[in-house]
Structures are given as C-alpha cells and as structure tokens.
C-alpha cells in the first residue's frame, strides 16, 4: 500500500530521468564547464598550470577592438541574412501558394539547397564568385555592370557570405511559410472578398497576421542561427580578408589553441547576447503574434 504510493510519487520523475540525464550531461554540464573555463588562464599542455583569473578574460574581451569588430560583423551578417531571407521567402511563398504544376516543380527545386552540405555549397559559390573566371562576374560584365571582387575584398566579402547563406536558407523557410499559408481557410479570403477588401488589405490584415506565429518562429530561429554562423566563414574566407568576415564564432575558433579561457569567455558572452536578443523579441513582438 505504502509502496504503491511512493511509486506514484516517484513515477513522473522516473519517467523523465533518461531525458534529464541527457540534458544534464550534454547541455547543462558543458555550459557550466564553459563558464568555469572562462575564468581560467588555461594551459593546454599542463592542466595543473592553469590559473584562476576571475573576470579578467571578460575585462579583456570588452577592452579589445577585434571583439567589437567581430560583434559588428556578426550583427551586420545577421541583419542582412534575416531581413533578406524573410522578405524573399515570404515573397516566394506567396507566389508558390498559387497551385500550378510549375510551382510544384519550383517548390521541390527551391528546397534542394537545404539538403546539400554547406561545404559543397560554399565551394561551388567560391568558384562562381571567382573574380577573373567566375560565372557571376561574367554575368555582371555581360549586362554591362562592373565586375566585383567578391570574396577577395573586405568591402564585398561579407555581402558575398550573406548571399550564400540566403541562397541556402530561402527554400526551407519558403516551405515553412507555404505550409502556414495553406493552413489559412479559404472561406476567410472569400469573406474578405465579400467585404470588398483590396489585395493589399487582405495581405496586411489577414494573411500576415494569420502566418505571424510562423514568421516569428522563423525570425527567432534564424537570428540565433545567424549569430552562430561559422561553417560558411571557415570555408569561404577564413575570416578575411583583413578580418572583414570574422564573425563571433569564428573569432572564438581563432583562439582555440592560443587561449582557451578567453575563447570560453567569448562563448559565454555570445550566449548572453543571444539570450537577451530572444528575450527582446518576445517582449516586443509577442503581442503582435496571433496564436489561434
């Protein structure tokens, strides 16, 4: 009798235990360890020579110009990718929402970049963006525009990386938005037609609010993802030229051997920035999002 009551109380905990072990081991412990590392001057060769230095790493971060540089690059990259991807995928989704046979084909095609490895994509784009023989410059010249140095100049390198990321993401997010659009009951549009609503008004007052949960989700997910960009940078530019594409995560990566403590501290700062940003999104936008 007593045993069953104990089991009743314990059962929920027992059931979540396996998942909890995973989270503790692979999420909570690494984060705590990261925070711990960030307070050490860590010696990779001899762990015992590591020295606790408190908040010194953090002081260093905020006094170094290259950190602010990386932060600015990341913010520019994020704004570029998020704004362009969202606008483009919304536009494409609205177009794909018209059911034609051609659109079914386009829908499949536009999703393809998402299933290709970013390494392949980056390499192909590097080839396309090659200043002398690349297809992009060839196309620019063909229509009488000046050729661009693309990845090889600090003025265009970030833009180049943004283009590649947008190209890779846009199909996936279009698909998400198409799914949201298809969920809007047709009768609402019919009611709006009977209410004499203009096309713009239908879009602004009905379509947009109806897909706002999905748009908000995409905004948050994409901001977080863009803040953590690494692979494209690593493959295409290695952070250059002249640090013009060194994003925060690549900045952290650069210190992987020289100063683990400093890299960890930057990691903690990145985590804090993303948390704050997400929080701000929720505070600012959550009352504009219409959950059903």
């Amino acid at each position: 009798m007593n045993n069953t009551r104990v089991w009743q109380k314990l059962r929920p905990y027992a059931l979540v235990l396996p998942a909890m072990i995973g989270i503790l081991l692979f999420v909570v412990y690494p984060i705590l360890y990261l925070v711990k590392l960030s307070m050490f001057k860590y010696n990779l060769l001899n762990k015992d020579k590591s020295k606790f230095i408190g908040a010194d790493n953090y002081t260093e971060i905020f006094s170094r110009g290259d950190f602010y540089n990386a932060l600015l690059t990341t913010v520019l990259y994020t704004v570029g990718v998020v704004v362009i991807t969202m606008a483009l995928s919304l536009f494409i989704a609205l177009w794909l929402n018209q059911n034609t046979r051609f659109n079914a084909l386009v829908q499949a095609g536009i999703f393809t970049p998402h299933i290709i490895s970013i390494v392949s994509i980056a390499l192909v784009w590097m080839w396309l963006m090659e200043p002398n023989y690349g297809l992009l410059n060839f196309a620019l010249k063909a229509v009488g525009l000046p050729a661009l140095p693309w990845l090889q100049s600090s003025s265009t390198s970030l833009l180049s990386i943004i283009i590649v990321s947008v190209w890779q993401n846009v199909g996936y997010y279009s698909l998400l938005i198409v799914a949201a659009l298809k969920n809007i009951p047709q009768t609402i549009y019919e009611a709006a037609a009977l209410d004499n609503a203009s096309k713009f008004k239908v879009f602004y007052k009905i379509t947009l609010p109806m897909i706002s949960p999905q748009l908000f989700f995409i905004l948050v997910i994409m901001t977080i993802g863009s803040f953590k960009v690494f692979d494209t940078v690593k493959i295409m530019t290695g952070g250059g030229p002249n640090g013009s594409t060194t994003t925060l995560v690549y900045y952290i990566y650069e210190f992987r051997t020289t100063s683990i403590g400093y890299a960890s501290a930057t990691g903690v700062v990145l985590m804090a920035i993303i948390t704050v940003l997400t929080f701000i999104y929720f505070r600012l936008l959550s009352n504009k999002v219409h959950y059903q």
């Binding site: 009951p185 609402i188 019919e190 009611a191 009977l194 209410d195 004499n196 609010p209 706002s212």
Partner: protein
C-alpha cells in the same frame, strides 16, 4: 432590394458538370430557401450569386443587372458562411467593421453602425473579444452582424445554423424570420435540412442533382409535391410509398394521413399490419407498421398502441397521391387517376 435571376446557367468544375442550363428567378424581398441533399448544387448556386465562383456559361442577374464581371465586394451582397469564416486575428468589433472600412465609411458612422448592430444581435459586451473566445452561438451572431452592418440588398446564407445545437437552432430560426421581416431584403438561404426550409421560407427551391425539382411555397410543396423526390424529401418522416402493381405506378400518403385502428374500418385504402417500432415524441407518436408488402411510418397524435400489436391501417382517398413511372405526380384530374384509385381499393386488406 434586388431580385436575382439565373439565365441558362451552367456550372462545371473541370469536367464535372454540377448544374446544367438552370433558370431560376428569386423574388425581391422574399425569403428563398434552396434545399436539397448534399451535392445537389445549392451551395454552387449561392456562390455564383456571391461571385465566389464564376459560372461556366449563362448569366447571373442581380436587380436586373448582369453581375458576371462584378467583383464579390461590389455586388451589394453579404454572406454568412457555414463555418462563419470570421477573421480569427481580429476582435468582434474589427470583424464587423472590416467591410465598412473597406467601403470608406467614416469613423463616426462606423461606430454608430457597429454599436447599433451589436445591440440588435446582443454582442455589445463582447466587442473587444477575439472570435476564439466566443461560443458557437455568439460566433454565429458575429457572422450575422458582419453581414447586416453592410446593409446589403441580398443576404446569402450557407447553412448558417448547422453548427449550432438543436435548441439554439430553433431559436435562431425564429430570429432569422424576424430579421427578414424587419429588413425586408432578399434572403437566399441554403440548407439540407427540410425543417429549416419549411419553417423559414416564403419560397422553397428544392434541388436534386443540379436540377430544380420544385419551386413553391412550403405548404404547396408539402401538399402538392411535383414528384416522388419532393414528396419524400419534404416532411418527417417522409411520405410512405408503395407499388400499386399497375403501369409501374406508385402510391403514397403522408405519415399523418393514415389512421390506425384496432378494428377493421372502411377506408379507401386499408391493410392489416403489425407495429414494429414505436417512437413516443411527446405530442405525437410515430409507429412503424409492417404489412405484408410494405413498411409504413404512421404519425398519430394519440399514443394508443404497443409494439407487436396487430392494427388496421386506413387512408382516405383524399390523402392518397399517385406517381408515374418517371416519378412525376399524377394530378387528380388526370384521366388515369380514377383507375389507379380503383386499383388501390382493390388491394383492400391484403
């Protein structure tokens, strides 16, 4: 105020022809109910009036004007949808005034209209709520208010009561009749429920398989059905029908047209049968009586019999209908009518 007219209208979706060469006049200011089983084309007709679907051929006239190329919002029609189609992201007030805003009605006028309409339908306390926070009946009222506020010349309703519970439905039927009386505009109401059709309509347009079966006032359609379909669709329980055994003709009588007795009586048509089921509905009782050849539903105002009891069923000559092999009703002044009456009398007490 506007009459509606369909002239040789054909509607086909891809190769699927729903309606072929249909002609129909819906009178100005009347409450017209389009009724029929699902898939009969009644909603298709309604959507053509609204302009939501364009007819394949023929023309639709509202107030004498061909509206084929006029957008739904400019036809002066309002529609209540079966699922109400409220804008889920807008409050009740925004839902009601959306059409007014689009028609550039001034703010003071809008407020005045919204206030008075919501007063009429009893929505005043809920103006700032979202539709998701309302009950089914309240949503129905929002849909109604949204249509009313535009002061349309034609009201279209697509099974607006089918999502309500039985009690609320009965109440809303009364309110719609009153609303029609008050507004005096043309109402076109689509339903598959013959009770709604009978209770509210000035004119019933009975449809089946894309064709109009009968177009008449409720009492006419009930007392003088054009054909077997009309006879069996209108009325609960439907008309009892049996084979006459002559020229493929069928005879029929309404469930309340027969009299059940314990002793044999002298009626024009009389048979012996046994009561199989009994449904006691309060003011009336419905018996299913099995005879040798048929099973008849009989409605009695008195509850005198029990299941398995032997009874005699009698129907007066005046309560009997005959239908030709092609299912059309044989009029009383038809030359064959008397012969069929005599034949039915010959089947006495089988």
């Amino acid at each position: 105020m506007a009459a509606i007219e369909f002239v040789n209208v054909t509607q086909a979706f891809e190769k699927n022809v729903i309606i072929k060469d249909l002609n129909l006049k819906i009178e100005d200011g009347k409450f017209t109910v389009l009724v029929g089983p699902s898939g009969c084309g009644k909603t298709t007709l309604l959507r053509m009036i609204a302009g939501l679907d364009r007819q394949t051929a023929g023309s639709v006239l509202i107030g004498g004007e061909d509206v084929t190329d006029i957008a739904p919002g400019q036809r002066g029609v309002a529609m209540v949808f079966q699922n109400y189609a409220l804008y889920p992201t807008m409050t009740v007030r925004e839902n009601i005034e959306f059409g007014l805003k689009n028609n550039k009605v001034s703010k003071e006028e809008r407020n005045r209209l919204v206030e008075s309409i919501s007063e009429t339908v009893g929505l005043s306390p809920y103006l700032n709520r979202k539709p998701s926070a309302l009950s089914g009946g309240q949503r129905q009222r929002v849909a109604l208010a949204r249509a009313m506020v535009k002061k349309p010349s034609v009201f279209l309703m697509d099974e607006p009561l089918s999502n309500l519970d039985a009690k609320l439905r009965a109440q809303m039927r009364i309110e719609l009749i009153e609303l029609h009386k008050k507004l005096g505009t043309t109402f076109v109401y689509v339903t598959h429920d013959q009770v709604e059709a009978m209770s509210m309509a000035d004119t019933i347009v009975l449809m089946n398989q894309g064709r109009i079966q009968q177009e008449a006032a409720p009492e006419d359609i009930y007392r003088q059905p054009n054909n077997l379909f009309a006879a069996q669709f209108i009325g609960v329980p439907p008309m009892n029908v049996g084979d006459l055994g002559m020229d493929g003709v069928k005879f029929g009588f309404r469930p309340e047209g027969a009299v059940l007795t314990a002793e044999r009586t002298d009626s024009h048509f009389g048979v012996r049968g046994r009561i199989v089921t009994r449904e006691m509905l309060g003011s009336e009782t419905i018996y299913q009586v099995k005879t040798k050849q048929h099973a008849f539903m009989i409605k009695c105002t008195e509850d005198q019999f029990t299941v398995d009891q032997e009874v005699f069923l009698g129907v007066d000559a005046s309560k009997i209908f005959f239908f030709r092999q092609d299912e059309h009703r044989i009029a009383q002044d038809d030359v064959r009518h008397a012969a069929y009456m005599a034949a039915l009398r010959g089947q006495q007490h089988e």
